[in-house]
């Protein structure tokens, strides 16, 4: 109410009172980074894939004609889809619990979510190797309980890649959902209960639809991150689980075929963009409300 007025009698609204020069100064470092670190190299790759050594679409034709590359592209999307679905399935209840409880248990859940996030992806991927290798924890447990006689081949399978990626990406699903669910007023759920909804009905009719913005953000982030995931598939996957980023890595570091790597990267980039646009269109239908 008693907000301080500016000299011209207006109330300061942060967006307006930044002069254009200050605004420019504030975004310059980021814009420079965006140009130098992203747009320029991506542009160079794109350029290289078409104009080096001479103008040709041969690199793209190669992707389309060799079944391996299309298969890898397809598998990448498939794995990303499964990982996203699993992360949603496992992450949603955690986000819900995190938003509901308070005090020490909230801290405990937050720690369980955040500490893995702060741990290097490399470490976590090696941890999965320790778990899944021939004489690893999982195999030993299986043998000792008599479920199998000989150790199973767990490592370098699609299952290993999916399990590890889900675990690594889970926080990116949990946190956006949590931040939305936490801001759903308790009174809305209470109102639903008061008006005759059982606790399950109240969840389905109120909490779930109101958490959609968080779900869509989490799904989008997780899906995009898993499309370009490199370390985990490279360490835990075998030749039969080759993903796009591993393939691109091979082309640049082993075969030194930069134009073709550029073509692969461009294909992945545009496929991702297309999917994001479709996804946002589909979810825009739910945006007819705001919380609070």
């Amino acid at each position: 109410m008693a907000a301080k007025l500016l000299a011209n009698g207006r109330r300061p609204t942060s967006a307006r009172e930044y002069g254009p020069m200050l605004a420019l100064a504030l975004i310059t470092p980021f814009v420079m980074l965006l140009f130098g670190g992203f747009l320029y190299p991506v542009g160079a790759l794109l350029w290289g894939s078409i104009f080096v050594p001479e103008a040709t679409l041969a690199n793209y034709a190669r992707i389309l004609h060799e079944p391996l590359f299309l298969l890898v592209l397809w598998r990448t999307f498939e794995i990303a889809f499964v990982v996203t679905a699993l992360a949603l399935l496992l992450g949603y209840p955690v986000a819900l619990a995190m938003a509901r409880v308070s005090g020490r248990s909230a801290l405990l859940i937050a720690a369980c979510v955040l500490i893995p996030l702060w741990t290097s992806v490399l470490v976590r991927s090696y941890a999965w190797i320790v778990l899944l290798q021939r004489n690893g924890l999982v195999n030993n447990a299986l043998i000792e309980t008599g479920l199998t006689d000989a150790p199973l081949r767990l490592l370098y399978t699609q299952g290993a890649v999916i399990a590890a990626m889900t675990q690594v990406l889970l926080p990116f699903m949990i946190l956006p959902i949590y931040s939305v669910v936490r801001n759903i007023p308790d009174d809305l759920v209470r109102a639903a209960r008061n008006l005759g909804a059982g606790s399950f009905q109240a969840f389905v009719r109120v909490t779930l639809p109101l958490s959609f913005p968080g779900v869509s953000a989490g799904v989008l982030i997780t899906f995009i991150l898993s499309l370009g995931f490199y370390i985990t598939p490279a360490l835990l996957g075998g030749p039969s689980t080759l993903m796009m980023s591993t393939l691109i890595g091979q082309q640049t570091t082993e075969l030194l075929d930069w134009p073709f790597a550029g073509a692969l990267a461009t294909t992945l980039l545009f496929a991702t963009l297309l999917l994001v646009i479709v996804f946002r269109r589909a979810l825009a239908l739910n945006k007819g409300f705001e919380l609070g």
């Binding site: 007023p185 109102a191 639903a192 005759g196 009905q201 409300f289």
Partner: protein, 367 residues
């Protein structure tokens, strides 16, 4: 629809070592408008939440009509509720919000449409069904919340400071609308507020709460004219408190000494005291600012208290004078502005007459 009675027996809520509500007993009559009035932290909201079923009491029981609902789930209590911030579902239209309780009760579709239309007409929002809550003003949202809480014709309606977010003008208008609606429908209302004016305007009876206990329950006039405790005297309306010592107590009345400030005499002992004060006993006297008569010193031969006007506060229809008595007590005196007499200014010496029947006497209580 007919209102149901709500009886609360020894109801209490304990959070660890803290007793938020201490063994409260209230009988709400069918069709009555009862306010729970108290400052924040007095336990009035916790009490309401227990009646609604959102908090489980740690002691006591409650009934709605003939039914014991102490441990009944909130969705099975059939109580309407209007929340402080309305709690409208932001992802549903106004009509869907109002239809929600009917859908939960599996009412037939055409019947739902009819009753939603009726409920919206009841609060004069018949053309707003297709809008979303975010497209409505605060007052309109408030009305949707009322329509939603009444559409399934509950016998009891709970309201948790429903007007707190509205500005003063709109609040006064809504007070009248809600009161009228309640009288027309005959529903029992339990209304939580910390605004004593609101409680006085709307209620049949007011339950004043303090520190988790019921301080006094009664009609607005009872609370205003004969408060049971200094707390009620201070919280409902304004009261001047004066420390006094009983000088005499006999057939011709009571006399109290106010130290250097003078004396006050009463004809009868007020009914809130079960035993009359003994001479020499220390008491607190409560006097409403509007009950005090002010005169220039020497104008009246009554025994008056003398003082000096320290400040004059203009409040529109009346003025409040802050008068410092000879003994140092500061007394608020309220006088109608259209009074004929020339009104004193700051620094003027005045005499105060306090009619005996306007004085409340409270025994000093060890807190």
């Amino acid at each position: 629809m007919d209102g149901a009675s709500v009886s609360v027996h020894g109801l209490g809520k304990r959070y660890g070592a803290v007793r938020a509500v201490k063994a409260v007993d209230i009988e709400v009559r069918p069709g009555e408008f009862l306010s729970l009035l108290g400052p924040s932290g007095s336990g009035k909201t916790t009490l309401l939440m227990m009646i609604a079923g959102f908090e489980i009491p740690t002691e006591g029981s409650m009934r709605i009509g003939d039914r014991d609902v102490t441990y009944v789930a909130p969705n099975r209590r059939n109580i309407g509720m209007v929340f402080q911030r309305y709690a409208l579902f932001p992802h549903m239209t106004v009509a869907d919000n109002v239809a929600f309780p009917l859908r939960m009760r599996k009412v037939e579709k055409t019947e739902i449409a009819r009753r939603v239309a009726n409920a919206l007409a009841l609060v004069q929002l018949q053309d707003f069904g297709k809008r979303f809550p975010s497209e409505l003003s605060g007052g309109q949202q408030q009305r949707v919340a009322v329509a939603r809480a009444l559409v399934f014709e509950p016998p009891v309606l709970l309201m948790d400071e429903p007007l707190g977010a509205l500005d003063k003008k709109l609040r006064e208008q809504m007070q009248i609308e809600i009161k009228r609606l309640q009288q027309r429908l005959g529903v029992t209302v339990i209304y939580v507020t910390h605004d004593q004016e609101e409680a006085l305007t709307m209620s049949d009876r007011i339950a004043v709460m303090r520190n988790g206990s019921l301080e006094q329950i009664g009609s607005p006039t009872e609370l205003y004219d004969s408060p049971a405790t200094p707390f009620v005297a201070d919280f409902v309306g304004k009261t001047n408190f004066l420390e006094a010592v009983c000088q005499s107590c006999n057939g011709s009345g009571l006399e109290f000494g106010l130290g250097q400030s003078g004396f006050i005499s009463l004809k009868d002992c007020p009914p809130n005291l079960t035993t009359p004060p003994r001479p020499g006993e220390k008491m607190r006297l409560g006097v409403r600012p509007e009950a005090i008569r002010m005169a220039c010193p020497g104008d009246s031969d009554d025994r008056t208290l003398n003082g000096v006007v320290e400040a004059v506060i203009f409040v529109g229809s009346f003025r409040t004078f802050l008068v410092r008595l000879t003994g140092g007590e500061l007394v608020h005196v309220q006088a109608s502005t259209d009074h004929d007499m020339t009104q004193p200014n700051e620094g003027d010496r005045v005499g105060l007459t306090i009619p005996g029947q306007a004085v409340q006497i409270f025994r000093e209580r060890r807190q």
